[in-house]
Amino acid sequence: MNSEFLLLLILLPFTGSIIAALLPTNARNTEAWLSGGIMLIALSITIYLYPSIAEGEILRHEIAWLPEHDLNFTLRMDGFAWMFSMLVTGIGFLVVLYARYYMSPEDPVPRFFSFLLAFAGAMQGIVISGNLILLAIFWELTSIFSFLLIGYWHHNAAARDGARMSFIITGTGGLCLLAGLILIGYITGSYDLDQVLASGDTIRDHTLYIPVLLLILLGALTKSAQFPFHFWLPNAMAAPTPVSAYLHSATMVKAGVFLLTRLWPVLSGTNEWFLLLGFAGMSSLLLSAYFAIFQQDLKGLLAYSTISHLGLITTLLSFGSPLAAVAAIFHMLNHATFKASLFMAAGIIDHEAGTRDMRKLSGLFSYMPITATLAMVASAAMAGVPLLNGFLSKEMFFSETLGQHSDSVLDSILPYAATIAGAFSVTYSIRFIHTVFFGPKPTELPREPHEPPHWMRRPIEFLVLACLVIGIIPGMTIGPYLHTAVTSVLGDYTPLYSLAVWHGINIPLIMSTTALTGGALLYLILKNYLAHSEDGTPGVRQFKGQRFFERSLVVLSWRWARWMEETFGTQRLQPQIFLVVLISFIMGSWPFLATESTTHLALTTETADFTFAVLWGIGIACALGAAYQAKYHRLAALILMGGAGLVTCVTFVWFSAPDLAATQLLVEIVTTVLILLGLRWLPQRLEQIDNATTLIAHTRRIRDFTLAICCGGAMALLAYTIMTSDKLTETIADFFLKHAYPEGGGNNVVNVILVDFRGFDTFGEITVLGIVALTVYALLRRFRPAPDSMEIPEQQRIQNEFDECHPERQVGETIQDYLMVPTVLMQWIFPFIILLAIYFFLRGHDLPGGGFAAGIILAIGLLLQYLASGTRWIESHLRILPLHWIRLGLLLAALTGMGAWLFGFPFLTSYSTHLEIPLLGTIPIATALFFDLGVLLLVVGATALMLVALAHQSIRSHRIQASESAKTEEER
């Protein structure tokens, strides 16, 4: 029953977040009421759940999500989770209250509260998820929402940079964490937390322990801002102060140590764990405490102190002893209380004084005595002054550092380092208080400071009270709760510990005293320096983590990436084609090289026919010639390509493929004309001008030439092998040959295949043709020729000028004379070509021919008329609407195919019969004929559309040119 409340704990904040996002911009109070209410409800739920938790019960709530992959929406709450849940909701409530007064009325608060609630939900999710993957999900969600919260004031560059940096670092950590958790799942066979917690030994003994540990530490340390990933936290201080108070004291950064504690039972206790974690924790503890002293920004100081305190917790966890773990858990709690209150205090100071720069702030005590007092108590807790909660956990820490953990240098320097760090923390705490509240009255403040609204102070008051109460009577206040938390983590290993304030005079106490006096002395020494120094730690001031991060990000993600992109990629076409060809060559010939069996290359010359050989001699010469001429003599290359095409066509005839030969020939004619039409728009290419042969170009040519020869050779071999290999006994062709006439109703098997057996191919093929025609049309509508080919061709200019020079001639007469006789002939041929098309169309089913050939013939007939009479003349006489043909063709083909549905047959089922018509005899009629008619219509339309669209460019460019020259004349 209680377990369903767990779901509520998650759902409430997220629902609230959505509602908050939808509220109007100025609904500051509503937002605050909503968020506060939600936090309060969640807090009450948590409190309500305590009795069952205290009995050691573990609440579970499970919803199946992806059970196959063991990813379920499992919620689980034990004592430790409960404690964190209290922090999340309790401090969350206080922060909302504080934020209500902190945020300016002009701020678009819906976004703020929405993100804040969502963040709270995500944090709550981390705390109570019972499935490792679910935990990772919430983990990343906290990164995302913290990014959004830090970047809340995104008009501020610092906020953007800080947000980005925190997101990139914690996000990366999260991805690593996910990998680590998946590996844990791999090792333990489950992602379920309970199951994982039960298999600690399996994990520690596994070969993958080190990678798992590294990945999980990466996740946790980045999140908790531990050295060397600490630098994002100070930059995240660009966030609004409530965000800092919530995220950077109590929740977000705590997630890392939370996870470490959660997995402490299964991961800790090894040497690697101690060394890695201890190093990171110690470095953070010491360095950040030192850095904190030199910060001039209040929040910067607090940020570094946070890193330092988290370092303390990390160090404690690294020890692997149960007592240290207790101390760690205790310190998490304590740190949350005093740090949150300090952040809020800093926010108040900032709010009231208008600056957070400690060089400008001083003597504020007289303006805001209550706030000052509160801040003083909180910082005393931070410094570890007795009778405050900070002292207790720090004392535990000191005593733990004395223990023996592993045989290493780290171990022996631990107590000293801890003491020094303690001294530093005293120094920065004193500095915080002394600089801000004491000393002369401030002079350069933007506004007159005074006490904040008292509801804004309430959260601080509450937290400071907590510090005091816990610090004075720990056993009665926090004791039982801490115990619940500790036992849930440590289980049977829970040690005996005491939360007493006074343990007698022992080494930890001496260490504490040393730290307190040392810290105070250090402050006295540094005081004057600090009052005017630059922001940042001397010596490493130049070395800013942020700058380093940005630089390395730029280098890594930009310079190197660009370099790699250029090195391993290309934008040029030639290398791309080269690679494609090369790879196909390698892949295609690999099987031959890999197998031992050499393919029999029995050169049988006896069947070689002299005529055929000579024919291909011609073909080869043409192909080589075309390859040679294509650069400088385009027309020659085109002509030679025609020659090669002709040889191909003859080859088709030779080997019994009349249909192919006809189609090949017709297509070749149209292609030639098309290319000729295009040739006019290409630039002049002159051998003498750009025949530059650099060494690189030369090498490239040799390389290409080699590849071309290799591929040619390979293809020749491949072709020879397959042509001479045994003929298959059984192919689908047999079926076609046998059924073409009886069932397809046609004798020309190729045509029956095209319109019936594999009519669907033809269907697709004509669609391609149609699409291309449309594209060509669309493209040419926007066509603009290059300036140097815009003018009318030179020939026409000369001929027109000639006509102009002779008064008895009219302009254009040369061309008229030129075309007069051919035009007459071509016009008279036209009906015969139409006849030929009809002939080829009608006989296609039985003899070579068919819709495609007929269509092209018709298109060529039209083309001839264009050639003879010119576009304008033809279009004034003959209205052909190519688009009309295309759509009719497509529809006719489709409808013919669909006709079969009427009879309950699949698409394209054909029906053929032989009609007895008087006088005409039997005439084969097949529905495929209509399909073929569709093909014909489309082919005519598409071919004509392409040719005509291209031909129209000449007229258009003349027109453009004319209008432009007219324009220039007007300007004169």
Partner: protein
């Protein structure tokens, strides 16, 4: 007897025609002017057409006539287009 004569004649005719095709190809390759190349292509086309007619005789199959017919009726189109390109600089005005 007559078969041998006929076959011989056909073979000879084929060889002669294909040699004629070689002669037609040479101007295509050699030039020197575009018009020479075009003329070569035109001749190559008509030679190929004749070759196909003869091939039809050889296989005694009427089917190949259609190819010859297409070359005969439409093969000139490329030549016409090429010629007009030379004369006017563009094919369709």
């Amino acid at each position: 007897m007559s078969t041998t004569i006929l076959l011989g004649a056909i073979t000879v005719a084929q060889i002669i025609l294909v040699i004629a095709m070689i002669f037609a190809t040479i101007p295509m390759l050699r030039g020197p002017h575009a018009q020479d190349r075009i003329l070569g292509l035109d001749t190559l086309y008509s030679n190929a057409m004749l070759l196909m007619l003869v091939f039809g005789l050889r296989t005694s199959n009427v089917l190949y006539f259609e190819i010859a017919l297409i070359i005969g009726a439409l093969g000139f189109v490329s030549t016409v287009a090429l010629a007009k390109f030379l004369m006017r600089g563009e094919v369709i005005e």
